[in-house]
């Protein structure tokens, strides 16, 4: 086979069809990448508008109904169209097979089908805005009874989320089988890159938890059309049953968002530290532990809903336990830097920013896991700050980090690193300006999903809105820097291994050819092994 790159490869179809009908995992990944970034920018614009509205008490630019629709759509797009598919759909699809030494995922056609479910779901969200009662206004959590009472187009919007669930399930299924079946000779489970461990843990959650939300969302539709009486208290149903079902999926789903990002951190750190990772075993096992324990803590979203005191205590206890494996990861990452030889290139900056921002998010999560403090803080801006720190500062930041790490390999182009670093710095400053004041106003009692507010909160809202402008400037710098590299003719690189990484994707041509490998490789060492390092003084 000749080494035509996957970008130039000419198959049965030409032009756009050659992309949207291709079952090559790398082309599918690029399809996902383009769609994800587009939706991210749309939802970011909604966030920008919301922050503008909050600049002054009372009406600033939009009316309350529009505001309510905006935060709902912002949440729905960010959750279902950006972070949940996120890293697995883009970087998992592109790099998992290569990192395992395989030619493709196990089920390439299902892989393409999952993208169609994704685009189909996205199209349904779009249609739901202009049909029925107009844009949904329930918040991304679709809580009953409000979602049963409101006249807006809830049914179509939740059906869209139902369809998107299939996309997620298929990706998860594909990755589980791929990891079990297609590892190259020599790659035992504990010689897999940690990114693969992150995706593997995630995949099990995708496969096992997503059906729960699927059914729950269908029940909302049934309830709206036929008044079955499952959730509606007026018909003998139970609103708390809905909350249980919703969070039985949606809490594990936050680990769908973060585990792949953690896997990515575990790739980037050894590459730029020029040494093996500290604690491979504990990092890999903590992913599995998080995936498992993550199923048992959904009740911490319901501490003020009226569930029994005993169950609140149990959920609080388990929530604290799930913090431990996360802490272990952070400690091991920092320990990897000890006696390393650190080359702080652009992708590494994202990881440094991630460790600080994600730690703030995780540690403030402890306040929300504790019963008495959560009762004060739940449904306030403290929670809004917390989840943006973990989700946006976690997965969101690492999405950009991964893009900068693998961009040269994916497209054979190199971007301007100085500008990327500048963009990251502005991003981090804006991010903290936007979200840190939310912790304070949350503690002072500013509830979330509020169109209007009491004057004493204004100062925090003003700072936060200014922060949003800075953040968005940072994001635009990052995006345009990459676009410029992509479109220019001169930045071409065919360098196999620009960062000095040790995993298999750095051994294939840049950009990779259609089936990745001419000869399936055989591995003999762990994924981050480097010869010729100084031996540690004494072995433990």
């Amino acid at each position: 086979m000749d080494n035509v790159s996957y970008l130039d490869y000419k198959g049965k179809h030409k032009g756009l069809l050659g992309w949207i009908l291709s079952t090559d995992h790398k082309r599918i990944a690029v399809l996902y990448l383009v769609s994800l970034i587009a939706f991210f920018l749309v939802a970011m614009t909604f966030g920008f508008l919301m922050r503008l509205e909050m600049l002054t008490p009372g009406k600033t630019i939009i009316d309350p109904q529009t505001y309510n629709a905006l935060f709902t759509l912002h949440g729905v797009i960010m959750i279902f169209l950006f972070i949940i598919p996120g890293i697995p759909a883009v970087f998992g699809n592109f790099f998992l097979p290569i990192m395992l030494g395989a030619k493709d995922v196990s089920f390439p056609r299902l892989n393409l089908l999952s993208w169609y479910f994704y685009i189909g779901g996205a199209a349904l969200v779009l249609i739901s805005l202009f049909t029925g009662g107009g844009p949904i206004d329930t918040g991304w959590t679709f809580y009953v009874p409000y979602s049963l009472r409101t006249q807006t187009n809830v049914s179509l919007a939740v059906f869209a989320a139902f369809v998107l669930g299939f996309s997620s399930i298929l990706t998860g299924l594909n990755f589980i089988v791929t990891i079990h079946r297609t590892r190259c000779p020599g790659m035992g489970w504990f010689k897999m890159p940690l990114f693969a461990w992150g995706l593997y843990s995630t995949a099990w959650i995708q496969v096992l938890a997503t059906p729960v939300i699927g059914i729950t969302l269908l029940l909302i539709i049934l309830e709206r059309f036929f008044g079955v009486g499952i959730f509606d208290p007026a018909l003998g149903g139970d609103p708390l049953l809905y909350q249980h079902l919703f969070w039985i999926y949606s809490h594990p789903a936050v680990y769908i968002m973060i585990l792949p990002a953690m896997g990515l951190v575990s790739e980037i750190i050894p590459t730029f530290s020029k040494k093996d990772i500290f604690g491979y075993g504990p990092i890999a096992m903590s992913s599995l532990a998080i995936a498992f324990l993550g199923y048992l803590v959904w009740g911490h979203h319901m501490f003020s809903s009226g569930i029994s005191d005993t169950s609140r205590a149990i959920f609080s206890f388990l929530t604290f336990i799930v913090a431990i494996p996360t802490g272990i990861k952070v400690f091991n990452w920092v320990a990897t830097l000890y006696k390393a030889s650190i080359d702080a290139r652009a992708p590494f900056w994202f990881v440094v920013a991630f460790i600080i921002i994600f730690s703030i998010g995780g540690l403030t999560g402890l306040v929300l896991g504790s019963l008495n403090t959560d009762i004060h803080l739940t449904d306030t801006y403290f929670v809004v700050a917390h989840f943006h720190y973990v989700m946006f500062g976690g997965m969101g930041l690492l999405f950009f980090g991964g893009l900068h790490y693998w961009f040269p390999k994916m497209f054979g182009k190199m971007y301007n690193e100085k500008i990327a670093k500048l963009g990251t710095l502005i991003f981090v400053i804006g991010f903290n300006g936007l979200y840190f004041p939310m912790f304070i106003m949350g503690y002072l009692g500013m509830p979330r999903r509020y169109y209007d507010y009491l004057p004493q909160y204004q100062i925090y809202h003003v700072i936060s809105t200014i922060g949003s402008w800075v953040l968005i400037i940072g994001i635009l710098i990052l995006v345009f820097n990459l676009l410029k590299a992509l479109l220019s003719k001169s930045n071409t690189t065919t360098e196999l291994n620009p960062w000095g990484g040790t995993t298999l994707e750095w051994t294939v041509p840049t950009p990779p050819p259609l089936e990745n490998f001419d000869v399936i490789p055989t591995v003999t060492h762990g994924p981050y092994y480097r010869p010729n390092l100084i031996k540690p003084e004494k072995s433990h």
Binding site: P64, Q65, N68, G139, Y143, P145, Y146, R149, P233, A234, P239, L240, S273, K274, K275, F278, G279, G281, S304, S305, G306, D309, A313, S316, F320, I321, G327, V330, F331, V334, A335, L337, Y338, K339, A340, S341, I342, I355, I356, S359, L363, V367, G369, S370, L371, N372, T373, I375, T378, D379, L444, P447, R448, R449, Y451, D452, L533, I534, P536, H540
Partner: protein, 216 residues
């Protein structure tokens, strides 16, 4: 004097944030220190360290103990929040889009929660339409008002004053306007209001005379 629930919640918050801040500072400082000390320039060849069992055990066990301490502080505070004293007076609270209604034991109705200072008050929460959440930030308490359920809350104001009540569970168009107040006043004033003669039907809107009350 502050209410014990407020004190306990703020203390729990400070303990957790204090420990967290310590960890954040250590992690951040170490990371930057290593980046400086072991930069490519200063340390061209890395040392092949791949792990250390003792330290893995240490940073599993110590945080586990610390989070257990946090859990118990939170849980102890929570028990106070859930155990209303038996001498508490009961007020029925009904949430509806988008107002709070209060009904007293003698049938008096109001849209503001008047209470005597120094007496525990137990609130029975219900909703007639969608979920709401009854939140008094100054007292650090909140509980959802869910249709078809009787949830409860209690508090004991220790100082005269006015305190905001906010709806903290999204309930539609005017969610952010679903505000009310707790007005805590000396017992004699409260009794005068409570026992004042009223027209039979309809919600009572007569306000007691509150001259120097501050809203917190």
């Amino acid at each position: 004097m502050k209410q014990t629930i407020v004190q306990h919640t703020d203390l729990t918050f400070l303990i957790i944030i204090g420990i967290s801040f310590f960890f954040l500072a250590v992690i951040t400082a170490l990371m930057f220190y290593f980046m400086y000390k072991y930069s490519r320039k200063k340390n061209p060849v890395a040392t092949d360290i791949t792990g250390n069992t003792t330290i893995e055990i240490l940073w599993t066990v110590i945080p586990t103990i610390l989070v257990m301490v946090m859990f118990f502080y939170g849980y102890a505070g929570f028990k106070q929040i859930r155990n209303a004293p038996s001498d508490a007076m009961t007020v029925k609270v009904t949430g509806r889009m988008w107002v709070w209604n209060f009904e007293y034991e003698n049938g008096v109705k109001s849209d503001t929660l008047f209470v005597p200072t120094g007496k525990p008050v137990k609130l029975e929460l219900n909703s007639v339409d969608v979920n709401h959440s009854f939140y008094i930030p100054a007292f650090r308490i909140k509980e959802d008002a869910v249709p078809g359920r009787k949830n409860y809350l209690w508090f004991e104001p220790t100082e005269d004053g006015e305190y905001y009540v906010e709806c903290a569970e999204y309930c539609g168009l005017s969610h952010s306007y679903m505000l009310s107040k707790v007005v805590s006043m000396p017992k004699d004033k409260y009794d005068a209001w409570y026992n004042a003669p009223r027209p039979k039907e309809g919600a009572d809107t007569t306000k007691p005379k509150s001259d120097t009350l501050k809203t917190k």
